[in-house]
Symmetry: C2
Subunit: 190 residues, 2 copies
DNA sequence: CTGTAATTTCAGAAATTTCTGAAAGTTCAG
DNA sequence: CTGAACTTTCAGAAATTTCTGAAATTACAG
């Protein structure tokens, strides 16, 4: 490894965190390296940068492509594959959310749906049934929200985030304003 | 293992998913079992239910306690430790979000802050610096939103979720209504 | 105290995941 | 075609994580 100290520290940290995240160390490191590189890198540059085997790089890049976290590029007059991380951090964030949902949420949702189809026979199963149903309800509510919000463009998403919990105040405010409007004009319309 | 088929399926699925989540299979299974049990279970009941070693149960319960996902109870005239999962799924959701944040986000945030303190020396480092700064900005924005929202009670949180992206429409609506109010009364006030 | 019922610890066995080197596959210029 | 430049595959080595049984520890009733 022969990287600037800051870059090296970032890459190593991402490798460590990778494990806490369910992606492995190498995958995390490669992603981090691509993320901070001003230009696309080819596999051998990654091998040099991280000091790992060529085959490991190949497999890890494959995984990153499956996650849609990395873009394959070709330079003119060069047969090699080059890779970059997408520019827009918000886009990366969305992609990550999307992929994690596919892998971590959807399978559970479908198992829950399946299990909820069967009628509970015993007292015990009946209790379990209501618990599964609660969990299903929660996950569905959260993913519906997510489906709804993910369609927003970055600017609106940022507005929504910066608003935070104030939206509930806004709700109250809306009601107040609307009712004032009504009182004044007698033609109120929500 | 001698559980009702539905319960068994749920427990096994949760075990599998556990691995995709960074908690291990046993921990996932124990949590699932407690979640669907109408009454607190003691360690030996879990051993019977899941067919795993007593010591594994002990260690896994320890981990679940560290995650705040399990509650230790004592029954009168019984020296054994009994465990349940919290009732309220929303509370569980919050706990999970909180713990994942502590483990998966905060360390990265602090590393990023640290690295951003140093001045970039080369062109390369300078590029990396802006990328780190972008990532830092995004994470901070998202966690600030989260900090803000997590204080809401369950009801308000549910409202906010069911509203989804409509909040942005609401924002527009507010502006419109306020301006109508102004036009009508000449005393508009946001 | 003593003995019993419980929990915890921990060394190392078992299982799983990650990583490597060697071989095979692909692509393309000449 | 041929062979050079590159990428992928994959068996098994290495590393890591999980799990177990045995021993140690704790708690407490008698």
């Amino acid at each position: 490894m022969n990287l600037a100290p800051t870059i090296q520290a970032f890459v190593l940290h991402f490798g460590e965190m990778g494990s806490r995240w369910g992606i492995n160390r190498t995958v995390g490191q490669i992603y981090a390296l691509l993320y901070v590189s001003p230009k696309p890198l080819c596999a051998d540059e990654i091998v040099d940068g991280l000091g790992i085997s060529r085959s490991n790089v190949s497999m890890s890049l494959r995984e990153l492509q499956a996650w849609n976290l990395v873009i394959l590029k070709h330079l003119p007059n060069d047969r090699r594959d080059f890779f970059t991380a997408p520019e827009d951090v918000w886009q990366i964030f969305r992609t990550l959310a999307e992929e994690r949902r596919k892998r971590e949420i959807d399978p559970t949702l479908s198992v829950l749906r399946e299990l909820l189809m069967t009628d509970p026979k015993t007292e015990e199963e009946s209790f379990a049934h209501t618990r599964l149903s609660q969990m299903h309800g929660l996950i569905e509510q959260v993913t519906n929200w997510y489906d709804d919000v993910k369609r927003l463009d970055t600017e609106r998403l940022a507005t929504l985030l910066s608003l935070g919990s104030k939206v509930t105040k806004l709700l109250d405010a809306k009601d107040r304003i609307v009712s004032i409007g009504r009182r004044r004009s007698q033609t109120g319309k929500s």
